[in-house]
């Protein structure tokens, strides 16, 4: 049952990365590829009806970790105190900029929020990548499974690492380019004209960077944490995940070439999902490895709530998530198609 909750949390985080990933990516590219006010409104219209729902996956995942793995929630959230708080501030700034921008027709107002939107989206991608890499690299856990990590120490991967070292910076850059590519593919699907062709060009350029960073990141992960291979070697069926990573990347460029924009976005979603799942498979049953004494590593068994609590949770989790997925299907169907640039004057300041 503990494993079941590990899978559920991994599922929620994967859903978060894939779904919020494209609107974060769109945010990164917002000021780069959308140049006129109309184009920028189009970007915001494309993500407007869905970004909030996408972000709920993060909140729901946070709540689920609290429920299922209280010690992981307590240890990691207090240990990653500083970056997590900055991350929250970025989420605040990003949410506000998406929603507030459209309400006033003032160049200062809209430009300000365009800047906040792109800045916070970019830093969020970087923080997520660094956080993810921290979990893979390990943190300085003590015998109670607690830790506190400074933002940086000497930028080296040692027993007393900081949030940022060369390895996590690499992870941060990988996240930045892959989420940006994901966002570019989303905009390529949802927009038309010049904006679309810029998004398309950007997606191709970023694809090259994603391939490079994925290779370097995977190689350094295997170098630093060879034990992540254990689960794969014991159960070779899991090797389908790295295969999905590779084929996802190849399919992105293949579908782009064929002008199958939706398929290209799905391929990049599969790539991101496989990256997250691949790390989860490698870590299992550890959820937070120790950078020092391996005995201090936090496993799902250390962190789990009582079996009774986990059992009760399963009863409502499945119906709850089934309903949530229904909403998503409904909303995405409702707002399918291109987010058009031809916004009539009356609608310029429509809600949101």
């Amino acid at each position: 049952m503990t494993t079941a909750w590990f899978i559920l949390v991994a599922f929620m985080l994967t859903a978060y990365v894939v779904l919020d990933g494209f609107d974060i990516g769109a945010g990164v590219l917002h000021i780069v590829i959308a140049r006129t006010d109309e184009e920028r409104r189009t970007v915001l219209q494309a993500i407007g009806p869905v970004w909030d729902g996408n972000e709920v996956w993060l909140i729901a995942a946070g709540g689920t970790i609290f429920l299922a793995f209280p010690l992981l929630y307590a240890s990691s959230f207090s240990g990653f105190y500083l970056p997590l708080m900055v991350l929250l501030w970025l989420l605040v700034g990003r949410g506000i900029s998406i929603e507030f921008r459209a309400h006033l027709q003032s160049v200062i107002w809209t430009n300000f929020f365009d800047g906040v939107f792109s800045f916070s989206s970019g830093l969020l991608a970087i923080f997520y990548g660094a956080a993810f890499a921290n979990v893979i690299r390990g943190v300085p856990l003590n015998s109670d499974h607690y830790f506190f990590e400074p933002l940086w120490t000497d930028f080296r991967v040692g027993p007393n690492p900081g949030i940022l070292d060369w390895y996590t910076c690499l992870g941060a850059l990988l996240a930045l380019v892959s989420l940006s590519m994901h966002g570019a593919l989303f905009l390529n699907l949802k927009t038309e004209g010049k904006l679309q062709s810029r998004a398309r060009g950007m997606a191709i350029a970023l694809w090259v960077a994603v391939v490079l960073f994925t290779i370097v990141e995977t190689a350094s992960t295997l170098l630093l944490r060879p034990e992540l291979q254990t689960n794969y070697l014991h159960h070779p069926a899991w090797f389908m995940i790295p295969i999905i990573v590779v084929s996802g990347l190849i399919l992105v460029i293949y579908f782009l070439a064929k002008n199958r924009d939706a398929a290209a976005l799905c391929a990049s979603g599969a790539f991101l999902a496989a990256m997250v799942v691949g790390a989860a498979v490698g870590l299992y049953p550890t959820v937070l490895p120790a950078s020092g004494n391996p005995q201090y590593s936090l496993t799902i068994y250390d962190a789990a709530a009582s079996p009774e609590s986990l059992r009760l949770g399963l009863y409502w989790w499945f119906p709850g998530i089934a309903i949530a997925i229904t909403y998503f299907v409904f909303v995405y169907r409702m707002f399918r198609g291109k987010a058009s640039e031809s916004v009539s004057a009356e609608n310029q300041r429509a809600p949101i």
Binding site: G62, T64, Y73, L91, S306, I323, E346, P351
Partner: protein, 456 residues
């Protein structure tokens, strides 16, 4: 360590109080928008449609403020209260994560449709999205109140060998009787805020001779809803909740009333300043026997004062508990009075003939916010020194790995960020109010972003 505990409490108090400015309006407003929407659809009345769209804009801005300031709350249990989270996740995690799964998904999905989808949906379809948003906000309130209720009144738990808590009954946690009372009180408080905001803005327009027709709709609906909610808030909701509290947290009740000594025929202090040093109330204005009556139904019953309890179980800030409680009750009483007078004038068709009741409604706008905040301060400061009442002290709950410097850093960061947000928010709301209802929705075009029509 004392410093760190206090700082962590201030950290939480600041972020949650700033957060709660917004949900208390959106939860109440969601209901009133459903009322507006229902009348609009039933009567096919464009003025009601415009009113609903206008309040949807106010709602949207407040909602996003609530969302972005609410996300930090979801994480702050872990960041600043790690020891507490580690022990209680198995119980509180249920309502907290259910809030995400059952209500945040619902809200976010249908708010998008409600705000963007009027043109693509049928009339009743769009009405249904408003109802779904309303249901989402009220569910959200339910779950988070249930999480708090378990800290106030822990039920249906077993304590495991490692000190952590596990549920003995899921429904016991989700239907905590304390929580049900607290939920009714909270939601009715939210409706009061929304009603006063709606009437206040209607009064503002009427006094400045703008948007008269819409403004009368705002005032009429706001006064009716405000009358019902503010009366319900005092009786039965406040009365029941207070009595339940007096039985289960008698020491908190004593601090709220400023009753230092156990007494037969205990007085109810209307005004006064508690002095915790010599355990008296200074300058009291009191009703003899009234407190005994309220708690036990007779004027002569003995009510436990603070002296009936060991001092290490007293709330650590008695004046704060006393004042916040008295502010809540005092304002609540004023709300009933204002709403009764305005409802009477409305019934006699005189409300719009005089300027003074409109001025009163306008000036009342800030006070429901203050009353709601004061109510929460009463509950949470009154719960001290416990983080889980009777089971775990607040001093045992904070994050031991986080230093005072880190906490100061993030507290100041939140203050700066929220200060900036407040300015932008007020500026934007002022602009929306300036534009007024019907500003850019001739023919119902608002809320319809230009997606191609084949979508629906």
């Amino acid at each position: 360590m004392e410093h760190q505990i206090l700082l962590s409490r201030i950290h939480f108090a600041f972020t949650i109080m700033f957060h709660y400015i917004f949900p208390q309006l959106t939860m109440g407003l969601a209901l009133l928008i459903v009322v507006l929407k229902t009348r609009a659809v039933l009567r096919d009345d464009e003025r009601y449609h415009q009113s609903a769209r206008f309040w949807a804009r106010i709602f949207a801005v407040n909602f996003v403020m609530g969302v972005v300031t609410g996300i930090p709350m979801e994480f702050q249990f872990g960041t600043n209260w790690a020891s507490f989270s580690q022990l209680t996740g198995g119980i509180i995690g249920h309502p907290v994560s259910m809030e995400g799964v059952f209500s945040f998904f619902l809200e976010s999905a249908f708010l998008g449709l409600f705000l963007y989808g009027e043109k693509r949906l049928s009339k009743w379809g769009h009405w249904a999205t408003a109802v779904a948003v309303f249901a989402g906000t009220w569910l959200s309130g339910y779950f988070i109140v249930m999480a708090d209720a378990w800290m106030q009144h822990p039920v249906a738990y077993v304590r495991l060998a490692d000190g952590s808590f596990a549920p003995s009954s899921f429904w016991g946690v989700i239907l905590n009787p304390w929580g049900l009372l607290q939920y009714m009180h909270t939601m009715s408080g939210a409706v009061i805020t929304a009603s006063f905001v709606m009437t206040g803005l209607g009064a503002f327009y009427l006094l400045s001779h703008k948007h008269d027709e819409h403004a009368r709709i705002f005032v009429r609906i706001g006064v009716v809803a405000g009358l019902v909610a503010s009366m319900f808030q005092v009786f039965p909701s406040g009365d029941e909740h207070g009595r339940y509290l007096a039985h289960h947290q008698p020491v908190t009740a004593a601090a709220m009333e400023g009753l230092f000594q156990t007494k037969k025929g205990a007085p109810m202090v209307l005004i006064g300043q508690p002095n915790p040093e010599n355990e008296t109330i200074q300058n009291p204005l009191a009703f003899k026997g009234m407190l005994s009556f309220l708690v036990y139904g007779t004027f002569s019953a003995e009510v436990d004062g603070l002296d009936a309890f060991p001092k290490d179980q007293w709330p650590d800030n008695i004046p704060l508990v006393f004042f916040s409680y008295h502010i809540m009750v005092g304002l609540g009483t004023i709300f009933v009075a204002v709403m009764i007078v305005c409802a009477y004038l409305l019934w006699r068709r005189k409300l719009f003939e005089h300027r003074w009741p409109l001025w009163a409604l306008l000036l009342c706008v800030p006070f429901p916010y203050i009353a709601n905040m004061a109510g929460w301060v009463t509950a949470e400061a009154g719960r001290q020194p416990w983080i889980i009442y009777g089971l775990m002290r607040t001093s045992q709950g904070f994050s031991r790995m986080v230093s005072t410097g880190d906490t100061w850093f993030t507290l100041l960061g939140f203050m700066g960020l929220y200060g900036l947000l407040s300015i932008l928010f007020l500026f934007l709301v002022q602009e929306i109010i300036n534009e007024g209802p019907g500003f850019h929705d001739e023919g119902g075009k608002i809320g319809s972003v230009s997606y191609p029509e084949q979508g629906a």
